[in-house]
């Protein structure tokens, strides 16, 4: 006895969601189980494909072309460029991001004064692209300590961006506790209450304050706090008041850009008829050559789920899809093999910012995305892996995390649905 579906996807991050969507669009009945809210809430909300080749300092301009230069064990190399491109096309038709169909990376400023190459951007971020565009004003608010606008502006100027950048820190028009979270600001801006003693609304007050320091700027960047659901209309209102494009600067966790992407993908999953259960982990399984049942732990009770095909999209070391202790690296749900050096001191590089082997830890798959045992056999006939549980890539260094999740997610979900049919 178990709760049944054709395809069961384990993991609710980008890889799991794209995998579930691809499987459902193939006609399978799909259930997605996630331990927690999507890790997209910890992500920037940008979609990177390939920002840097291993060992290179210069950003990649054309990621599809650069895929050919990746080592054979890299997930992109395993899939081949055509499947990567097809998956990105599916993302473009699912999510209303900018850059759909484009072949080249774009550079965007980060909240800490750096910049990064990325492939697809939320519409609210796009006007902040660094390669072109006019003079930029960055505006921070003093209770939001994660974004120091004058510092970020100075760093960008130092980096040699081809336009003037200026940074200003403004008080937030409605006084907040010194430790108020990002969500509080977003909710207030969305609610748009009157600011005491001014007779203006919050958004009008923000626009007026920015207008006073606008100067010659041709675009204005603010931290990504412009509402949880209504950012487009909030930005339109600010732009109308200021007469120049307004954009959001991606922030660290908790990330509203990531939450908005999660909401958009959840809506797509809902439309596709995917069942979703968030909040509890898969902890155990019955399996021989095939997996028959997995168990979700709800505190003490173990709830059985059964499917014809399974997708493992539990994440990497941070997402807990890859676990480790002092003697070994392991995959906790099915015990899939994870290649790693026997001596723990070979797991990391002595240089903190060096090329750590642990960053590439993950299950080994072939072109069918089935995890393999140490001697190259298939672990389970009806199991495929997607996202950062797959080894062979250092996504943080390469800026390839979202792309790998989308590419392997779509491929695994599609194959699972075809097999289940």
């Amino acid at each position: 006895m178990a709760i049944e579906s054709d395809v069961l996807v384990i993991g609710g991050g980008l890889a799991g969601m794209m995998s579930a969507l691809a499987a459902a669009e193939e006609g399978a009945s799909v259930r997605l189980i996630s331990y927690k809210q999507s890790t997209l809430r910890q992500a920037s909300g940008l979609i990177d494909l390939l920002g840097y080749l291993p060992g290179e300092q210069r950003p990649v301009v054309s990621p599809y072309e650069a895929i050919g230069a990746l080592p054979a064990e890299h997930p992109y190399a395993i899939l081949g460029v055509d499947r990567v491109r097809a998956a990105m096309d599916r993302f473009d038709t699912t999510v209303g991001y900018d850059g759909g169909g484009a072949e080249r990376n774009t550079l965007v400023a980060t909240h800490a004064g750096g910049y990064k190459p990325t492939f697809r951007t939320p519409q609210s971020v796009t006007p902040g692209a660094l390669a072109d565009g006019g003079a930029m004003l960055l505006v921070g608010f003093d209770p939001i300590t994660d974004f120091d606008a004058p510092f970020a502006a100075a760093m960008l100027t130092e980096a040699g961006v081809p336009f003037e950048v200026h940074g200003e820190t403004l008080p937030f028009p409605i006084e907040q506790a010194s430790d108020a979270g990002i969500g509080r600001f977003a909710a207030l801006i969305e609610e748009d209450p009157a600011v005491p003693a001014t007779g203006r609304t919050l958004r009008e007050s923000i626009a007026t304050a920015i207008g006073a320091v606008l100067g010659e700027a041709e675009r204005v960047g603010v931290p990504a706090i412009l509402g949880t659901q209504e950012s487009a209309s909030i930005i339109a209102e600010l732009e109308a008041a200021l007469g120049v494009p307004v954009f959001e600067v991606p922030m660290g966790p908790p990330s509203l850009l990531g939450s908005r992407l999660e909401a958009e993908l959840h809506a797509a999953l809902d439309r596709a008829g995917v069942s979703m259960e968030l909040g509890n982990p898969v902890v155990d399984a019955d399996a021989d050559a095939r997996i028959s049942t997995v168990y979700v732990e709800k505190n003490h009770a173990q709830i059985p789920y059964a499917a014809s095909e399974y997708v493992l999209a539990t994440g990497g070391l941070v997402g807990k899809g890859v676990g480790s202790d002092r003697s070994q690296v392991h995959e906790p749900v099915f015990g899939c093999h994870i290649p790693h050096p026997a001596d723990r001191s070979d797991w990391y590089d002595d240089d903190v910012f060096g090329a750590h082997p642990f960053a590439r830890f993950g299950v080994r798959v072939g072109g069918d995305l089935r995890p393999q045992t140490a001697d190259g056999a298939i672990e389970y006939q009806n199991l495929r892996a997607a996202g950062s549980v797959i080894g062979g890539a250092d996504f943080a260094k390469e800026k390839s995390g979202s792309g790998i999740s989308i590419a392997t997610g779509v491929a695994a979900g599609t194959a699972a649905a075809e097999e289940a049919a």
């Binding site: 709760i3 927690k36 430790d179 108020a180 979270g181 990002i182 509080r184 003490h300």
Partner: protein, 455 residues
Amino acid sequence: MSDAEQPGFAPTQPNTGTEFEPVQVFPEVTDSDLRSGADSCYKCSTCDVNCPVAAVDDSFPGPKFQGPEQWRLHQRDEEHEIDDSIMSCSNCMRCDNACPSGVPLSQMHNTARAEYVSEQMSHRSVEYWRNRLLSNYRLSAWAASKAPRVANWMLNFGPARQLLEATLGITAEREFPAFATETFRRWWQRRGGAAASRARAVAARRRQGLDPDADKKVAYFHGCYSNYNTPEVGRALVRVYEHFGYEVVVPKQGCSGTPMFANGMIDDAARHKDRTLEGFTPKLDAGYDVIASCTSCSMALRQEYPELFEDAGVDALAGRTYEGIEYLRIHEDLPGALAEAEAPADFPDAFAYHAPCHARNQGLARQAVELFRHLEGVTIEDVGESCSGISGTYGWKQEKYEVSMQIGEDMFEHMHDAAGTTGMTECPTCAMQMEHGTSYPIRHPLELLAAVLTD
């Protein structure tokens, strides 16, 4: 044992070679040790962003402070007092669901709140006695059930309510829920109790060609609200289970403890837990699984019991407690049964569904919406992931009423946007809030299931 006592650890001669072997310096964690939880917090603040109270109340410091940060302050300094803002946490437990690192935030809050209430809050204060009165709802409901018509009149009699607000701080803004003229347990007894249920289950098994002696039996935790206020939910559960050939028993039970945890009344909760264990442990031993119709009750038995109590029977109960529809999804073909059934003529066909926060943490937030997709002619529309704001006794407190309604605003708005003008939820107090904000009647998914599958 502290780091300094670790044998072989000599700070004056640091081991800088490659031979370095880290050692376990902390003892093995036991269930009630919250250190591992505090250590797992990497301060991403996702919990704070998910906190419905922090979103509307600027003065509330949020779950990260209430949980891991306050726990650490307390470890460092025995004199550290629990901040009184712990009483502004509504115990919706959203932070548990949000944390990417598995920090047991609600357990930390419950523990801190219990300590605050027992050691810092004056036991002679009005707040203490008001909170005790609210959290011991079962006692008031029991008294009211002796003369439900009188109680219903009195409790919604304006001047009496003004007095309650002025003296005890129980808001006069809300309508008290009506007490049923016949409690669920009285109906159960009148109907013939467990023996009658067995007979009905056996008849159903015969009808469906199942083994008449099939081992299908459940023990029902109805909780206080289904007993005193909405016995129709309990009756629906019994009918649905018997329809699938299950014999139902209704053991002696206390309150699940949910309102007591939320008010830091841990001793009251323990007393009710004892009563529940006394009733259910023999049934568990005899092979019955436990089901609940209220998602906060199932949450308490599953999660809070093992986190807060160390009794021998707690783990067995937690391990075999299920939400009422969830259990049927595991053991029966509910989608199939619904696909073959017709929408009932005498029941609404469009619902604005709100998922209670406590259902969310059990992975049940989408259960009703997804299940009834299989039933033609009925639409269940999810009104979004916001919290209803009432959080049990929270929204009944005069000083919390406004915050509670502000939190609920999103839900009210989405309910009005939904096609249906009947609400649906599994949680009794969410139902109160939904009704209060929209004037819609509110039904439980089990009521719809019973209307579809049984006569």
